[in-house]
Structure formats: structure tokens, C-alpha cells
Amino acid sequence: MCKECGCGLPGENPVGISAHHHVHSHEEADHEHPHGTVVGKHRILEVHRAILEKNDRLAERNRGFFHARGLLVLNVLSSPGSGKTTFIRETVRSLGKRLKTGVIVGDLATDNDAQRLRESGAPVVQITTGTVCHLEAEMVANALKQLDMNGLELLIIENVGNLVCPASYDLGEDLRVVLLSVTEGEDKPLKYPPIFQSAGVAVISKTDLATACDYDRKTALANLRRLTPKAHVFETSAKTGQGMDAWCEFLIQQHKKLKLEWGNR
């Protein structure tokens, strides 16, 4: 177990538990720290385990399964109403036969999104989480059993609309795609740092509404860059199709690149 960062992955060298790196008497102790031994009348258990270790492990299992099948997997995150479903539907349509795509969509209730997504012709599985505000790796693994995976090359997972909680849960994806619609305000990335910080791709959606809501493009891009300087940024409108070609071309290239990497293993 990695004891440095609590990532849940095995460390390079198993680290033994040592109680002290320095000497002081317990009577004079001016600081508190775990000892790995009996202190006073209670026992101290050194654990050093990632709290979400189980999810991380299942996510790695998903990742292995996806790679074995040559699947590129996206985890799409945003606040409710940023246009995830429409963006995904139009992505599937634009890709057409160039990349065979399946979708898993998570919501608290209803299968409305699944119905909308099926209009694209892609196989779709809806996960209803009840009261859970995010998707977990196990839910994705269960949904996979119901998904027609035949010939699939791209799997898009639409997470529950929420800019906080899904950031903590790895699903086994290759790329985290965070949407920010022009109607949400340019400072949204600054208000929700963890999720934007974890993004591999940032998509600015609904660009057709930019003028109507006085969207300040320069500030929005600068704010995104402050949190996630290396993310690929796409500016799109699923409604008019603006920017969708560049986005689809990026996905096709990513799929090619990953297939090459997996092939060489």
C-alpha cells in the first residue's frame, strides 16, 4: 500500500511502520502524532489507506476491461443544465460511423436523458442513482452488463449533473471532460476548483448564446487556464454545430493514439 499519498495503489517498496523518527519523552510531548504502539491505555492502529480505496480498485478494473476492448472512455461532468446530454447526442451524431459510440448516463431519477440520447442511434444505458449525487465505479461496472458492447470504440459516461461530488470518484475513464456553458459565468472554474483542476478536456458549451449573455471569452479562458493549464479546450455549440468537427476529430485521434499504445503493450 502506498503510504505517501493514500492513492490506494501498491507502493514501490512496502514501507514498515516505525513509531519514531525523533526522540522526545511522552511527558514533555508538545505535539500529537500516531505511534504505532501502545500509548497510555489505548492501542494505536496505523492504517494509511485511501478512503475510496474500493472505488479506486474497481475503477482500475474497469480501466483494464476498457483497454482490453480497445475502448476510449470519457467521463463527462458539469453542473446541471450545462448541456451535457445535447452535447453527447450531437457528438454521437457527428461521429457517425467514424467511431462507434455507446453511452452510460447517470441521473437521480427518470430515464429522460437516456431517451434523448437514444435519438442519436447509440446504445444507451441509464443509471438512476436514487439520492446519490455522483456515479461510482461499481455502478458503471453494473451498467456495462446491460450495454451492447459489440464493436464499440468509444464509451461516453454522462455523470450526474454536479460540480462537486463526482470529482472524487474515478470511474476508469481515459479522459475527464468538464463542460462549462457560456450562460454560467466566466468565474465558474474559480468557484469549483477541484473538478476543473481534474479535467483533461474542458468544453465551453452553448457558444451560440454568448452574445445574449454578454459572455467574456477572454476571462473565461484565462480562468480555465489558471486551474487546468494543460487541458484541451473546445468551444462548441451542439445546436449550431460550431466547434463540433474539431472536437470529433480530437476524439478520433485520441482513440487512434490509445489503440496504438495498448497494441504495443
Partner: protein, 113 residues
């Protein structure tokens, strides 16, 4: 609101460790929580009190250690601590894409009997 499910995962580990150690009571639990983990310590505390009821961990002291975000600046070739989560080097003001710490959520240790 996901603090509840995170605390639940932590508590499952705590109770498992308690069983393995053949202990009957948990006195304290130490967690390390990164500032970029998206978890609010106060909400964890609240969730803990709600979940621990009826378990050997009831009444245990929850000690949460914050872990600041640390980034690597490729220009200055040094690590810097980011107090406001921005990946911007305080010296050269270049943004860094390499996060070295700040996302962790770890059950560090616990005191039992």
C-alpha cells in the same frame, strides 16, 4: 453532499480494522484530507456522527488533517504550495499542470481498545 458516502467508506474500513484488532471501542480516528479533494471537513464530521451511532466508533474523536495542494513548477524546477488552489507559481507566475499533493483522502490511523 458526498461526504456521507465518503465517511461511510471510511467507517467501513475503521470497523474492519477494529474487528481485525479484536478491539471493542474506537477512541479516535485520524484522516488526511487534501484541499483539492472536494470534501468539506465539517460535513465529514456531521456525517461521522450520524453514521457511527450504534457502532464501536460512536463518540470517537475525528481528527482531520488538511493537506495543502502542492504543484511542481517546471520553469523554476521547484515545488510550491498553493493556498488558493490555483496552479500558479508564486515566483514566475506560470501555471503548473503537475499536481503533487492535495487530492488525497486517507485513513491514517486510529486509537482503539
Amino acid at each position: 453532499m458526498h461526504e456521507l458516502s465518503i465517511m461511510q467508506s471510511a467507517l467501513i474500513q475503521v470497523l474492519e480494522q477494529t474487528r481485525q484488532a479484536k478491539a471493542t471501542r474506537v477512541y479516535s480516528i485520524r484522516l488526511r484530507i487534501g484541499v483539492l479533494s472536494g470534501v468539506v471537513p465539517e460535513a465529514l464530521q456531521f456525517a461521522f456522527e450520524a453514521l457511527a451511532d450504534g457502532t464501536p466508533a460512536k463518540g470517537a474523536k475525528l481528527v482531520i488533517e488538511d493537506v495543502l495542494a502542492r504543484f511542481w513548477c517546471a520553469t523554476c524546477k521547484r515545488e510550491f504550495k498553493a493556498t488558493r488552489m490555483f496552479a500558479e507559481c508564486p515566483d514566475c507566475h506560470h501555471p503548473s499542470a503537475e499536481l503533487r499533493a492535495g487530492r488525497e483522502m486517507e485513513l491514517t490511523s486510529m486509537e482503539v481498545d
